[in-house]
Point group: C2
Chain length 205, copies 2
């Protein structure tokens, strides 16, 4: 039986740039873990593709998945569902592959409760002012939505304490390098390698 893969979770406030960092990460040829595509009921933004950025589904289809216990996590966020289908994640982990999730903070807490040995990374804005500015410049949301998001983000930044690592998204290439480093280091954690190591010693001890 293959050693079970490692679950890597990237989360952070809405507007911090999780999607951009994740895309840059998976454009790096050195990255050897698999991305689990999230499912959402929100409208695709310009340039987003179904089955690449998200699985874009109807509210009814999403609720059907919840009812059937087919979601690892899900959250309702600014009137839309976001979540991770369970099947792909389990298949990959069981086959010994590391799996990367980029999800909302409520979802990350649910995953942490079920998979405490995962690696939980919180992407933070350099400061709250920059978060506000990013949302304004994106220009896809009206002011009411933006203010609601700022309030939510303020709460979410305090949720950093539920994560293992905090990566500041000051520059995408820095954030990508730091996430790659974290994954490399986590693979050297004693609780991950000890079983293999004891086996490799065989009868010699």
């Amino acid at each position: 039986m293959a050693k079970r893969g490692m679950l890597i979770v990237l989360s952070g406030p809405s507007g911090v740039g999780k999607g951009t960092v994740r895309k840059a990460l998976f454009e790096d040829p050195q990255v050897d873990f698999n991305y689990s595509i999230s499912m959402t009921t929100r409208t695709p933004r310009s340039g987003e593709q179904n089955g690449v950025d998200y699985y874009f589904v109807s509210k009814q289809a999403f609720e059907e998945h919840i009812k059937n216990g087919e979601m690892l996590e899900y959250a309702k966020y600014v009137d839309n569902y976001y979540g991770t289908p369970l099947k792909y994640v389990n298949q990959q982990l069981d086959a010994g592959h590391d799996v990367f999730l980029e999800i909302e903070v409520n979802g990350a807490l649910q995953v942490r409760a079920n998979c405490p040995d995962g690696v939980y990374i919180f992407l933070t804005p350099p400061d709250i002012k920059e978060l506000r500015s990013r949302l304004l410049h994106r220009g896809t949301d009206d002011l009411t939505v933006i203010n609601k998001r700022i309030q939510t983000a303020s709460k979410e930044i305090r949720m950093m304490q539920n994560y293992d690592y905090a990566v500041v998204n000051d520059k995408i290439s820095n954030a990508v390098a730091e996430i790659k480093n974290i994954v490399k280091s986590e693979r050297l954690k004693v609780n991950r390698v000890m079983p293999d190591y004891l086996t490799s010693l065989g009868d010699e001890i």
Copy 2:
């Protein structure tokens, strides 16, 4: 007041190459943490310098340090004392500098008990056979000493579980790169950055 520095502890079985890895690490110009030189009562090996590799002191002088509570940790190992003088470590940590110790496993356990928020790295031989071969090739010890060391190392490998990370010393440059990565990642741990981050948010939240 400066933020307190991080304590980084490298340990592992005798003969695994801790000293060689530590030397290579501190030859790297990117390394920005400080090395705390150990104190020992053992005879210097060929090429070793007092105040560089170790503080080489008499048994009487070492026992005086123990009596005066001036040691962070110490252990008697193959009839010699090895230990870390407390003063330098505290000065550096208080000034906000990260401090690196390369010490024996008994000493590492003592440090862990006093400083649970340090980073504990276990350097392992690729396998126990290679450890034996390294000791034989070093040619500085007689067979009785070697057999005693092999037995001790077998026990020490099981002590891996008392560490955070296991780095295999298959190639010095790999081990150095992995230790550098671990330190970088540990600096992103939420429990280390959260206080600074909350301060930086100021009144905005």
